[in-house]
Symmetry: C2
Subunit: 434 residues, 2 copies
């Protein structure tokens, strides 16, 4: 019996009818003779509603009739108040997935398919104590595998786990995908043989580029874990990195496919077969980037560490970093950040430069980054050169360049984003029909 | 440090502001130097909404576009479909209380009061496997007592528990009251000394009679567990019997009080002090009763058992039973049932009489039952006589009489309900100001 873990996201489970349609997928796999485990997210906007409720409770004293400043309630946003006790927030948010597992189990049972729901705790999804962004430490696949072998469908709550002490945790963004892949890994380790993780989403699969930016973008049949990780880091929003990392570590084949359409999807696997001569799997685009350039800073050991530790403490997420030594004991460090982080960054930079005893900060805004990702980058000579040539011919000026083993990224003017993507997409032959 | 368990129901926790007002009660007790544990129900109509969702999921295949009969969805009712898998229903419903505990803990933390939320499972509220109406088998009060002694407020989910195997259960109607009293008992057993269970409700306390029926009804300062049990059984809706039974068994003093008003409430205790000469604590009224009379049934061992086993199997809740042997080897058995059960009862009765090989069933409708409850009933002579006299003087005809050790109940015409209540209330001196 082949075993598959099927993961359905929140918008696929938004009401009873949508849950029923997900259940049809489960039943179809069962009819083919496969064993199935299901992972689900919270229904529709449930998590947002719970976060809103949490913020209201956290601010209830301030907003109380006649109590304090008042009137300034944060409405509509899905971001939890940073002061909220994280253990309690996770205790609250975990109820969303717990509702969906029970409802999905009911729908399956109503169709005559025996099903058993499992919260993260019940499934033995043990995590560390980093509430709101916990990491999975261990999963016990034995009980779930016994269910599957007995013809039952275990329905597991995504996004959540439990600490050794029994506290409920959540895994943060992309958590349900991670649950699904981690569960497939646990079933494999429990002796299930090869277990595929099917991630049902609102896209057909992974594309060579975002079709809204590059109309000739094609869906990939397969992509490697490595490439998917770089694509996601560089802005492709198909799957969260932690899920792909889990897949890579435990060699779980991941299939990304559309929840409402019968289409083949994209496999994320160890080695994706490539067409001859195509070095690049796909392109990713990040927009609204700011570039921070620190000049004339002391060229001494530990300086970079102090700069980026200071930024990390302030919660600033730093993208690419470039450092060059310009001689005379001074260096230049440049890095990119998202526009939304720029406001927070200025006082932090001033304090850092003050502590370093020198240097100057320049902040430029309005950049985009085009990244070409592919395992071929490391074996094919001239990939970078071909990319730069294509950009030059399209009249796109390059501000910064960064590379990794399987990626070349260029920082360009935001206005050139689409043009650059289309030019590079064509230059690497990604437009070609397969 | 005195320790108190404070229980807040669903309507008291319907939104952030209401939860904040409940938290004020907790903080007031903390300021007095008391240790506090909190038990909460699901917010407002949450449980009803979840039941509705469960019914939709259970019927999703029938109601699917183009799928089966359709159109016949049960809407608006809070009764779960009888076919629903009970384990999954409990898994679902338990999320309601889990949300409230987290939110209550946030509100307390926001006020600077350290708090820790506990699901039933986390609190070690172990039950049997009777999903939807589980009974508490054990509670571990040690961890919660350690919290309280460290100045923290444990906030425990009412209405829910967990089986030995880790399955989530719910306790059925009145479950959160039961949780609160059982928790107080567990804390006592863990060495906390006397622990009071404060049940915050939407009434001031327990009355000598329903004030809507008897305008001169008075709030009681105290009532005994025994009396409260009889009052609840006979229709007074202040607290559920299982909570009171727990209180009686573990000698937990229960204080019923209004959640929004500063009023003294009613104590439910072992021995309630009584005014000299007043034998009765209060009156209860049940309406919409039907009377079933089975005549000429064989007077043989096991006949009653067969009758009532048959009714129980059909889910009919039988109230008072009276049997009289009329001689000649035939007996008369009469019992009362609620009007809502009458439709289900006829085919059951026919089958039972057919099996017994004889007998005749008469069903009369439109009865009410007035019950006078008090420990004084067993020590005061003539209580029954005084009640019958009062009814006779008020022109109320008595259809059936049933008594227990501390109760006298009379079945009367429904139209005479109010008149009878007021006459008996006056006759027993319950109108008197204390």
């Amino acid at each position: 019996m082949a075993i598959v873990v099927q993961k359905f996201g929140g918008s696929s489970c938004a009401d009873a009818e949508k849950i029923r349609r997900c259940a049809e997928r489960v039943l179809a796999s069962r009819e083919r003779g496969d064993g199935v485990a299901v992972v689900v997210s919270a229904m529709g906007k449930t998590t947002d509603r719970l976060i809103q409720l949490a913020n209201e409770c956290w601010n209830a004293w301030r907003d109380a009739p006649g109590g304090g400043e008042g009137g300034e309630v944060a409405k509509g946003g899905a971001a939890p108040d940073p002061g909220l006790p994280r253990r309690e927030l996770d205790q609250l948010l975990a109820t969303g997935e717990q509702q969906t597992i029970a409802l999905m189990a009911m729908v399956l049972e109503a169709a005559g398919q025996r099903a058993v729901s499992y919260t993260g705790a019940q499934a033995g999804m043990v995590t560390d104590r980093n509430f709101s962004r916990a990491r999975i430490a261990a999963i016990d696949g034995e009980e779930l595998l016994a269910d599957i072998r007995a013809g039952r469908v275990p329905v597991v709550a995504g996004f959540q786990g439990v600490t050794d002490e029994g506290d409920v945790t959540t895994l943060g963004r992309g958590g349900s995908d991670t649950t699904a892949v981690a569960l497939a890994a646990a079933l494999q380790q429990a002796g299930a043989g090869r277990v595929v993780a099917e991630i049902f989403t609102d896209v057909d699969g992974v594309y060579t580029a975002d079709p809204r930016v590059v109309p000739r973008a094609r869906k990939l049949d397969a992509i490697s874990y490595e490439e998917m990780l770089e694509m996601a880091t560089e802005g492709a929003r198909v799957m969260h990195n932690r899920a792909v990392e889990f897949g890579a570590r435990y060699k779980v084949p991941i299939l990304v496919l559309h929840s409402q359409r019968e289409a083949p999807g994209t496999w994320i696997v160890e080695e994706a077969p490539k067409m001859e001569g195509i070095a690049v799997a796909g392109l990713a685009l990040k927009t609204k980037l700011g570039r921070v350039t620190l000049t004339k800073i002391p060229d001494a050991p530990g300086v970079a560490a102090r700069i980026f530790a200071g930024l990390a403490e302030a919660g600033v997420v730093v993208d690419d970093i470039i450092q060059t030594v310009v001689g005379d004991g001074v260096a230049t460090v440049a890095f990119t950040v998202e526009h939304s982080d720029l406001a927070a960054i200025k006082p932090v930079l001033e304090a850092i430069l003050h502590n370093l005893g020198g240097g100057h900060a320049t902040i430029d805004v309005g950049f985009s980054k085009v990244s070409a990702v592919g395992v071929g980058v490391r074996s094919h000579a001239g990939v970078a050169a071909a990319m730069f040539k294509a950009l030059a011919e399209a009249g796109v000026n390059i501000a910064n360049i960064t590379t990794s083993e399987i990626k070349i990224g260029v920082l360009i003017d935001q206005a050139d984003g689409e043009k650059a993507m289309q030019a590079v997409h064509r230059a690497f032959g990604l437009d070609r029909a397969v």
